[in-house]
């Protein structure tokens, strides 16, 4: 609990600044920022001076952007008196101060002699002056095992202990309950097996640069889905198989994915039903639907300004969003996943599981826990099927049939997903066609902005989808 004027922060911050800008999980790339403070939580290891290395603690880097936005990033640090070649990929920088002497800082999550403190903390339900480790009683036996940091993630860092558990360390942290932990805790306690069970978590407390006390969730421990693979990878396997067979239809090839899609639809339906049971629900009538239409329209306006290619479709899209205002309602709303796509699904030997209930990471916390229609998630999954298929057609050597096959694959798997969802929940999302279409087009508009900023070569994916939907909105959902 130290503030910006603490000596350590002043000496360390240039190191943190350089380190942050090179991390995948840092959200402020390309924006100018200042490190306002570095808050150092108590040592998780013995403090320096005891002669044991590394010494390990969590440091929270509070940054401010030019426009006044504030963000806090978590950097667990392991300090050594000498350089560690084996940790070169996790090197943060060099410090010299009274407490540490001359020391070399490494990202502790990549150092298995440091990561043990998180697992041990949860096992022992450790409490330090500014951090608390909690354990959820699930019957799982937890034993200390060496960790391995996973490499695939965008916004957090996860590591696996042995084969039993996965620690997800949140990089961008915020005051209040993390929705990922909140939802996993509720679903785990209710016995839902469509998510990876929550085993424990860690939270910390500090006073930020503005003098406000912040209590934030910093990490969560889940049961590790040992032999699972990511739904996006699995879907691409199917698409790849189809593309190799120019003359066979999507329902004829060996790699047909419809069975998986249907089961994924059922899994999504089951999780939605659980969320509706365990958390608050509400109903939206005209005022809220109007507000939703306003949000969608506003996003459209912003995006058209930035992505001129979207302009020809704007009037029709506006019409789709306006239709939301006139819906008969009331529309049931509840807690949802918020950022569902194939990459947030895992296929295990015991069926599908959904992961990452953090909501859309770009949104502030309040927006991520707000109630919404489950159609938001369903529309996002429908978009994801389109992405999986179309991503294989952007390659320059895709054959002429590829575009046709991609649309066929998308239609087949979207339908199967919706069938699975409808069969489990008893509610067919296609009965709320206008709202589903609006959510889907809103998502495609969002994607257009994202792609034009980050992957211009993929911009044709959302644009192509918008064009097809507008040409034949019924066929795309009914396919």
């Amino acid at each position: 609990m130290k503030s910006a004027d603490d000596h350590a922060a002043l000496t360390i911050s240039p190191m943190h600044r350089a380190y942050l800008t090179n991390q995948r999980w840092f959200g402020g790339k390309g924006r100018d920022f200042d490190v306002r403070a570095v808050h150092e939580l108590s040592w998780l290891s013995e403090p320096p001076g005891a002669g044991e290395w590394p010494v390990t603690r969590v440091e929270l880097v509070e940054i401010g952007y030019e426009d006044g936005d504030l963000e806090t990033y978590q950097v667990p640090v392991a300090y050594y008196p000498e350089k560690q070649d084996r940790l070169e990929h996790a090197y943060i920088g060099e410090v010299e101060n009274q407490q540490l002497g001359r020391a070399f800082a490494y990202d502790a999550l990549h150092d298995r002699s440091a990561t043990v403190y998180w697992l041990r903390g949860i096992i022992d339900e450790r409490v330090t002056p500014d951090a608390r480790f909690s354990r959820l009683e699930t019957g799982d036996e937890l034993t200390e095992e060496p960790s391995l940091a996973l490499t695939a993630e965008q916004s957090n860092t996860s590591l696996v202990y042995g084969e039993q558990s996965l620690l997800k360390v949140f990089r961008k942290v915020a005051d209040g309950r993390n929705p990922d932990i909140e939802i996993h805790q509720a679903l785990t306690l209710d016995g839902c097996d469509k998510v990876a069970a929550l085993l424990g978590w860690m939270s910390g407390r500090w006073t930020n640069a503005s003098g406000k006390t912040v209590t934030a969730d910093l990490a969560m421990l889940q049961r590790f889905l040992r032999t699972a693979s990511n739904g996006w990878e699995l879907a691409l396997t199917s698409v790849r198989d189809l593309m190799a067979e120019g003359d066979l239809h999507a329902d004829e090839v060996g790699g047909d994915f419809a069975g998986e899609s249907e089961r994924l639809g059922a899994t999504t339906g089951e999780v939605h039903a659980e969320l509706a049971k365990l958390f608050a629900t509400a109903r939206w009538s005209a005022p809220q639907l109007s507000e939703l239409a306003d949000q969608m329209t506003a996003r459209l306006v912003d995006t058209v300004a930035a992505v001129p290619q979207l302009k020809p479709y704007a009037p029709a899209l506006r019409g789709i969003f306006d239709d939301v205002r006139g819906l008969a309602g009331p529309v049931p709303v509840q807690r949802v996943h918020g950022d569902l796509h194939l990459g947030q699904t895992m296929r295990t030997v015991r069926g599908w599981k959904l992961i990452d209930f953090e909501g859309e990471p770009a949104k502030p916390l309040a927006g991520r826990v707000a109630l919404d229609s489950p159609l938001r998630d369903i529309a996002a999954m429908l978009r994801s099927f389109d992405y999986a298929a179309q991503s294989m057609t952007t390659s320059p050597n895709a054959h002429d049939q590829a575009g046709f096959r991609a649309v066929e694959w998308t239609g087949r798997n979207r339908s199967a997903f919706l069938d699975g969802y409808a069969a489990l929940t008893g509610t067919d999302p296609r009965d709320q066609r206008s709202l589903l279409l609006a959510y889907e087009m809103d998502k495609a508009v969002y994607e257009s902005m994202y792609e034009s900023r980050n992957r211009p070569s993929w911009l044709p994916i959302p644009l192509g989808s918008i064009e097809r939907q507008l040409a034949n909105p019924v066929a795309e959902v009914d396919a």
Partner: protein
């Protein structure tokens, strides 16, 4: 009797757990006397080939006296051999020759039913009050036990058939010419024990017990897996253990593994019913996994397979003399398999597909090798089907299941070197099509070609022999980053084997979490090449289309 045989090790109660089995149809393997039918003397002539291949045990489907309306599973005399196949003396000579070469022999035995030509049945029909009157299951009506499913749905409409001689219906779970024996009659038990003892006394190493789930019938049940059936198997096992140690019982129970596991018997004591059972669902799942390019069909079924008693073993196979069984898949999967592998309606039979491995895989050598590598490395003792080691084809135009029972192709000469008979006299015609015919596919040619499927299969079988982990080891699915890659470790004591299989027709990378063996350098088992040391980070491998690796993981202290 065994310990004195030259080729076999002394007392070895677990031999079947490490063994590779080789299924041979006597009538289709080698004809020694030119009558067009393969025989025991011909089989004896070919023992050197079988031993060379490296298998450990020969499994012979029934060669008993039979009207042959169901491939010999319709037995009309349990203790005699028809003259076209040979004699009991010929069988003894074969058995001794096999044992001399270190090969064991198991034979099929049908407990559930006999042929309607069996003298017991004839006596039961004509003399209901005689000694055989109660040997079969008779009824005045045909409506009892209606919950029992009809197995051969293609040919049978009921499990009851009217017998005009006795004036009653008789019960049959299979064909109407195969009446079920009445296991409620103790005299039937004794008759079965006597028949089994006849072969055990000759020195055979075990039985494959055909159709075991159906021995009893009880009201209100489907007549499968009844407690009485298990009681009989325990009695049979005690009889074999007490009198004939090291002999095995291998059950054919085409059920889900969770039901089949009951046929091993008591878990605590290591098993008190059958030593081995076939694991049926793993086979169609391998086919599905490769077509879907996804490991999940296989990973799932192995995950759902319960542990088995310590002295027991699964038997696994890719193909055998029956059709590719699709009873143990879901309806959705079955439709899919039919669509994928039985494009011509004649390729379907009952609830399966009647094809050999090579034509099922479009004669793709990479896939045949991948499938064989899976067969030889997944948990259980593998059963090779004669001819699949050279990539033989099938003849879907032959009736029933005969299409996969055509003569073994030894040479490019007349009748594939199987027989000197006039080709028209062969019991089944040798395959002559341009791709799979004996002029293209035969043992002689493949012996001369060191890169042939035959030579490759032999090398794999021998590599397997060197590693007890394959037969005795634990199995753990390693998952990995790529859903098209099926990878697993087999471990037994110090022996650790790592198998990585690319189920996709495209080259694939995979990252595996091998930290458990950090510091070790995996050694590829076919070539002995050392791979990079396993470090702290995920282990990256790349595999060619339908490629696979077998690695041995040396202990880190080993140089």
């Amino acid at each position: 009797m065994h310990p004195t045989e030259p080729g076999l090790t002394e007392h070895d109660p677990e031999w079947f757990k490490r063994a590779v089995f080789y299924e041979v149809l006597v009538r289709s393997f080698k004809d020694s006397n030119g009558d067009g039918v393969g025989d025991l003397a011909g089989l004896t002539e070919k023992l050197d080939y079988i031993a060379w291949l490296g298998v450990d045990c020969v499994w012979l489907p029934p060669f008993y006296t039979s009207p042959l309306r169901d491939g010999g599973y319709d037995i009309s005399d349990y203790t005699d051999i028809p003259s076209d196949v040979g004699s009991v003396e010929d069988f003894k000579a074969f058995l001794d020759g096999a044992h001399h070469r270190g090969l064991r022999v198991i034979v099929d035995f049908v407990l559930n039913h006999t042929s309607d030509q069996h003298p017991w049945f004839q006596a039961s029909r004509s003399d209901p009050d005689g000694p055989y009157g109660d040997f079969y299951v008779w009824s005045d009506t045909d409506d009892r036990w209606s919950k029992a499913r009809i197995i051969f749905v293609d040919t049978e409409s009921s499990n009851w058939t009217w017998d005009p001689v006795r004036g009653q219906y008789f019960w049959h779970r299979f064909y109407s010419h195969q009446p079920d024996l009445n296991f409620d009659n103790p005299a039937v038990h004794q008759a079965m024990f006597d028949a089994l003892a006849f072969w055990l006394d000759l020195g055979i190493d075990g039985f494959r017990l055909d159709a075991v789930p159906y021995l009893y019938e009880r009201d209100g049940t489907d007549g499968e897996n009844l407690p009485e059936t298990h009681e009989f198997l325990r009695k049979l096992r005690r009889y074999v253990d007490d009198n004939y140690p090291d002999r095995i019982l291998l059950a054919e129970a085409n059920q889900w593994p969770s039901d089949v596991v009951d046929y091993f018997g008591d878990f605590e004591s290591g098993g008190d019913e059958c030593h081995m059972c076939f694991h049926f669902p793993v086979m169609p799942r391998i086919f599905m996994a490769v077509r879907r390019e996804s490991r999940y069909p296989v990973s799932e079924i192995l995950d759902e397979t319960p542990p088995i008693p310590s002295k027991c073993q699964w038997g696994i196979f890719l193909r055998n003399h029956d059709e590719l069984t699709l009873e143990m898949v879901t309806d959705e999967d079955r439709d899919y398999m039919w669509g994928e592998y039985a494009k011509d309606p004649r390729m379907k039979a009952n609830i399966g597909i009647r094809r050999r491995l090579a034509p099922l895989l479009d004669n793709d050598l990479n896939q045949m090798e991948l499938f064989t590598a899976l067969l030889l490395s997944l948990p259980g003792s593998p059963v090779l089907y004669y001819g699949d080691e050279i990539g033989m084809g099938d003849n879907i135009w032959l009736g029933d299941r005969d299409g996969v029972r055509t003569p073994m192709q030894w040479t490019p000469d007349r009748n594939a070197g199987f027989s000197t008979a006039n080709p028209g006299r062969l019991h089944l015609p040798a395959t002559m099509d341009p791709v799979f015919g004996y002029q293209a596919v035969n043992v002689e040619a493949e012996l001369e070609n060191t890169s042939s499927l035959l030579q490759w299969t032999r090398r794999m079988v021998h590599v397997r022999k060197d590693h007890p982990a394959f037969g005795l080891g634990t199995f753990s699915d390693l998952g990995g980053s790529n859903p098209s890659i099926l990878s697993y470790a087999r471990e037994f004591g110090d022996d650790t084997v790592l198998c990585v299989n690319n189920l996709s027709r495209f080259p694939q990378p995979v990252e595996l979490d091998l930290r458990k063996w950090e510091g070790a350098e995996p050694i590829e088992m076919l070539g002995g090449v050392r791979f990079p040391r396993i470090g702290e980070l995920p282990y990256l491998l790349t595999l060619g289309s339908h490629g696979f690796y077998w690695f041995r993981i040396p202990r880190t202290t080993e140089d």
